[in-house]
Amino acid sequence: MKIKRILVVDDDPAIRKVAEISLSRVGKWEVLAADSGTQALEVVCQYKPDVILLDVMMPGMDGTTTFRKLQEQSGVEDTPVIFLTAKVQKHEVQHYCELGAVGVITKPFDPLKLPDDIMNILNGVITSTWM
């Protein structure tokens, strides 16, 4: 699978910044960013990213709700979603995987390996990372 455009959704500007740089410099992808679930829905519909990196714990609409809304949205329902979360206990990761996302990337992540991790998840090599 080829990625051209990726959307990063996180309420924490610092994490957004790190992810943006990592994905654009290391992954050489076009990076879109959203600071909330609501904004993410708008961006997805407008720019149709190839993959979405979605934070779970967000104020207002949280990651799982955003994910469910995305799946209801026609045209974007097949866009793969990878959860990004600082909840890293086994049962938590398992829970997020079961929600229907293609994989889970745990925080903190290695910015130099982030694009590789995303590709591995999309290619079905792994379902989650742990650092």
């Binding site: 790190v18 990592s22 206990q89 745990t106 903190p108 910015p111």
Partner: protein, 882 residues
């Protein structure tokens, strides 16, 4: 049970004995009755004899009829008297019987004689024998027969007419008579024996009946007793069983009795509470109705194991309640077996572990939250560092990333600090440094500090004072709480207004309310607000720099102050967060010092820390003292040359030397020697040099303002009021004692001998006299004697001597309240303790106005207790309450 044969033998013996007894009784009865009959008969025959002698004797004995009459009367009476007497006195006895028999036969002889030996009269003999046979004793017949034989034999030889009626008789004639008597006797004896045998047989039968009845009665009694005993045992067992049943019934755990197949046959109250079913609802149902679907297989295994007699011990599982809720339980199943070890039922005990599970879940959630909160900032730090290191980025971006990492690191620090703070407060280890301050001061300070944030968010902050009371709380912590609430309010009131209202709260507390016009909080969320990380799932705290612990910390801080915190909110109309802190209440303990006297209000404050000096100065001013603040030792030295302060507050670590050096200076100057010193230090109290001048109190930094003020008042009161006369002829001892007392903040007067002691007592009226006994001129006994007669008779006295005093000596050496100390045996502490106690009792007695227990705190003040801070804190609290 006894052997049957033995039992029979025993019974036979008993029957035999009983029969003999019965026979003896009957025989005795027969003897007694016959005795009565015979005596009656004999009396009657005596009269008959007299009548015969009147009627027949004149015919038979024509020549001597008068003699015959006399014989009938007297001889007959004589013969009758003895047996009748015996029958009356000794009825039933063998002698009586035989005497009666003999007498009867002698009377027969008399009767025969009276009738002149007529043959007809001989029939009396046979009649008598027949009557005597009523005794059923053949021996009586033998006695009687012997008398008859003797009478006939002797009478036949001596006086035949009287026996046979003729003078001429054959010598064998008595034999003929005897033969007929023996003939009659033979049958009578036979009859007697038969009757005796019958009597014995009857007795035996009677005895048998009686004994059998007795033994049956015994048996019945025995059986009854056994029955009663078993009834008692049964009652005991029943009670025991009832108790057990009660225990089972009242147990909080579910205890369910089941058949091996799982049918419920007993259901206790615990089960009722746990599952919500009553016993009627579940009785005879299968226990699988309590098992949720996903545990059916497990339950089946339990049942199988139960049938095999296996115990299931403390297995965690779940059960289904009547209302459909699944509860976690700890289950124990024990089979109940009969004598043959067959499983007849299962006792199933279940302990509801919902609470434990919830606690475990809370702990697990807390760790999960902490992990999450730590990982979030670490993500940006790790990410930023990784990117910078990789060299893939532009220099300007690099600067941005450094800032990102720094910001996240700061957040991490805040988080860790908050967590540690919270832990510290919650474990009660955070010390509060309470001071008195105005509530308005707190509000304006916080508004000033928050102004920047407020203007950034375009929020205006206003305040309203409905009460202007002072607060007694930790300034920093109070600021922290109010700042937190105001900052939250600003975050949630975009372009709005935040209002702080100060008013009276409950329990003499001041309430600070922070009102915002934000979105408000739903009821369901409200109770979560003050929890740890609770708001993270749904709130906006995190992006605004919070750690999710702010309100939890506020709550802990306020509660540590003995205050309260809460929130009121209506969705859409904003929220009001409020907290209450204790109001400052003037302590009556401070009423003693006269505020108008400026000389006694000057306090030299030696403290190099600017902020602390400011705080202390303000505090002193608030109490109408005149602080004279010095930053260095040099300044302090200059100050004491200019004015005599009422008190010195001294820091030990000063920029140009050790503060304790100033104490030396004070000691050198006679004007300053009595000035009390309060040492405020970060050092431990124990590090002080012993006997150092007039140090009244050591306060540890950071020092509670109220404690400081209390100490000041006490020290001043001490310096003003307590004067001690030290009497000792030994110069060094006297000086050491005086120095020790001065170190306690007391003023001392010294006397070298008894005369001086008496004159100084009159002149100075000391509050306490420390007296040596061995003095050069007049000794301690005479001094006490003299003082007892003077006005100083009630002065407290401490006898401080080398001598071991006897009880009578001690009694002699008594003034007011008196203590006796032996120099060699007592330490400096003992001396100080004794002085403090004596002065304490003085204070208690004389200074009743001092209501908050100064007599006790006096001891504390003199540094004789170790738990200084706590005591003072408690004291302050009680001061407020009072």
């Amino acid at each position: 049970m006894p052997d049957t044969t033995t039992g029979d033998v025993v019974l036979d013996i008993k029957i035999g004995q009983r029969a003999e007894q019965l026979f003896a009784e009957k025989q005795k009865h027969v003897y007694v009755e016959t005795d009565k009959l015979m005596s009656a008969l004999m009396i009657v025959q005596w009269f008959v004899g007299v009548i015969i002698s009147l009627l027949v004797s004149p015919i038979a004995w024509p020549q001597s009829s008068h003699d015959q009459l006399m014989m009938a009367i007297f001889l007959g009476g004589f013969i009758t008297a003895a047996p009748v007497l015996l029958a009356l006195k000794r009825p039933g006895e063998t002698l009586t019987r035989h005497v009666i028999a003999i007498s009867q036969m002698v009377y027969s002889a008399l009767l025969i004689h009276l009738t002149g030996g007529r043959v007809e009269a001989h029939f009396h003999v046979f009649g008598s024998l027949a009557v005597l046979s009523l005794y059923r004793d053949w021996r009586v017949l033998v006695s009687a027969t012997a008398v008859v034989a003797a009478n006939h034999f002797v009478g036949g030889i001596v006086f035949p007419e009287s026996v046979y009626g003729t003078k001429e008789i054959q010598p064998w004639r008595w034999l003929e008579h005897a033969w007929w008597v023996v003939f009659a006797d033979t049958f009578l004896i036979k009859a007697c024996l038969t009757q005796v045998a019958e009597m014995q047989a009857v007795s035996h039968r009677q005895s048998q009946v009686l004994e059998t009845r007795t033994s049956i009665e015994d048996l019945v009694n025995k059986r009854t007793a056994e029955l009663q005993a078993s009834e008692r045992r049964f009652a005991e067992q029943y009670a025991e069983k009832e108790q057990l049943a009660e225990i089972v019934a009242s147990s909080n755990d579910s205890i369910i009795g089941q058949t091996p197949e799982g049918m419920i046959i007993s259901w206790n109250k615990g089960a009722e509470r746990c599952f919500g079913y009553t016993a009627e609802e579940v009785m005879y149902q299968n226990a699988s109705m309590l098992v949720p679907e996903d545990r059916k297989d497990e339950f089946e295994q339990f049942v199988q194991a139960g049938r095999r007699g296996q115990v299931i011990e403390s297995i965690e599982t779940t059960r289904l309640r009547k209302d459909g809720i699944i509860v976690p339980v700890l289950i124990t199943r024990s089979p109940m077996v009969d004598v043959a070890k067959h499983v007849i039922g299962i006792s199933e005990m279940m302990h509801d572990i919902t609470e434990r599970k919830e606690a475990e879940k809370r702990v697990s959630e807390f760790y999960s939250m902490v992990s999450h909160e730590l990982r979030t900032p670490l993500t940006s730090i790790r990410g930023a560092l990784g990117l910078i290191e990789s060299g893939l980025i532009e220099p300007d971006e690099s600067a941005d990333l450094v800032q990102v990492a720094r910001g996240s690191a700061d957040r991490l620090i805040r988080l860790i600090n908050d967590m540690l703070d919270l832990k510290k407060i919650e474990s009660g280890k955070m010390e509060l440094h309470r001071t008195r301050f105005e509530s308005e001061e707190l509000v304006t300070q916080v508004i000033y500090a928050m102004q920047g944030m407020a203007s950034e968010e375009a929020v205006s902050i206003v305040y309203e004072m409905t009460s202007a009371d002072a607060i007694y709380a930790d300034w920093d912590k109070s600021t922290q709480v109010l700042t937190n609430l105001v900052s939250n309010a600003i975050k949630f009131s975009p372009r709005g207004q935040v209002k702080i209202i100060v008013g009276k709260g409950d329990y003499q507390r001041i309430r600070f309310s922070v009102v915002d016009d934000g979105p408000g909080i739903s009821n369901s969320d409200m109770h979560k607000l003050f929890g740890k990380f609770q708001q993270l799932d749904s709130s906006d705290t995190r992006p605004k720099g919070g750690t999710g612990l702010g309100l939890a910390i506020c709550k802990a801080l306020v509660e540590r102050h003995g205050g309260a915190i809460g929130v009121e909110s209506i969705v859409g109309q904003g929220s009001t967060f409020w907290f209450e802190l204790p109001a400052y209440i003037d302590s009556p303990a401070f009423a003693g010092v006269n505020p108008g006297d400026t000389d006694s209000r000057t306090i030299l404050l030696v403290e190099d820390d600017h902020d602390l000096s400011e705080v202390f100065s303000k505090l002193l001013e608030a109490h109408d003292f005149v602080p004279l603040a010095c930053r260095t030792l040099t300044q302090a030295r200059e100050a004491i040359q200019l004015a005599v302060p009422a008190l010195v507050i001294l820091d030990v670590s000063l920029p140009d030397g050790n503060g304790l050096e100033l104490i030396e200076d004070l000691r050198q100057n006679p004007e300053l020697i009595d000035v009390p010193v309060l040492v405020v230090t970060g050092h431990n109290r124990e590090e002080k040099g012993s006997g150092s001048a007039t140090v009244v109190d050591w306060l540890c930094k950071p020092c509670d303002g109220q404690v400081l003020i209390n100490s000041i008042y006490r020290a001043l009161e001490l310096a003003q009021r307590c004067k001690v006369l030290v009497v000792d002829d030994d110069d060094s001892t006297r000086r050491v004692v005086a120095a020790q007392l001065k170190a306690m903040g007391l003023s001392c007067v010294e006397a070298r001998d008894g005369t001086e002691a008496i004159s100084l007592t009159e002149l100075e009226s000391p509050d306490l006299i420390v007296l040596d006994v061995m003095l050069p001129d007049i000794d301690g006994f005479r001094v006490v004697e003299h003082l007892n007669d003077s006005d100083a008779g009630a002065t407290p006295l401490l006898v401080y001597t080398c001598r071991d005093l006897t009880i009578s000596e001690r009694q002699q050496l008594t003034l007011g309240v008196t203590k006796h100390l032996t120099k060699g045996d007592s330490s400096e502490t003992d001396l100080k303790q004794a002085v403090a106690e004596l002065l304490g009792s003085l204070s208690a007695a004389a200074k009743r106005r001092d209501k908050d227990g100064k007599a006790d705190s006096f001891t504390d003040l003199l540094g004789l207790t170790n738990e200084k801070t706590e005591t003072d804190e408690d004291q302050c609290l009680s001061g407020q309450k009072g």
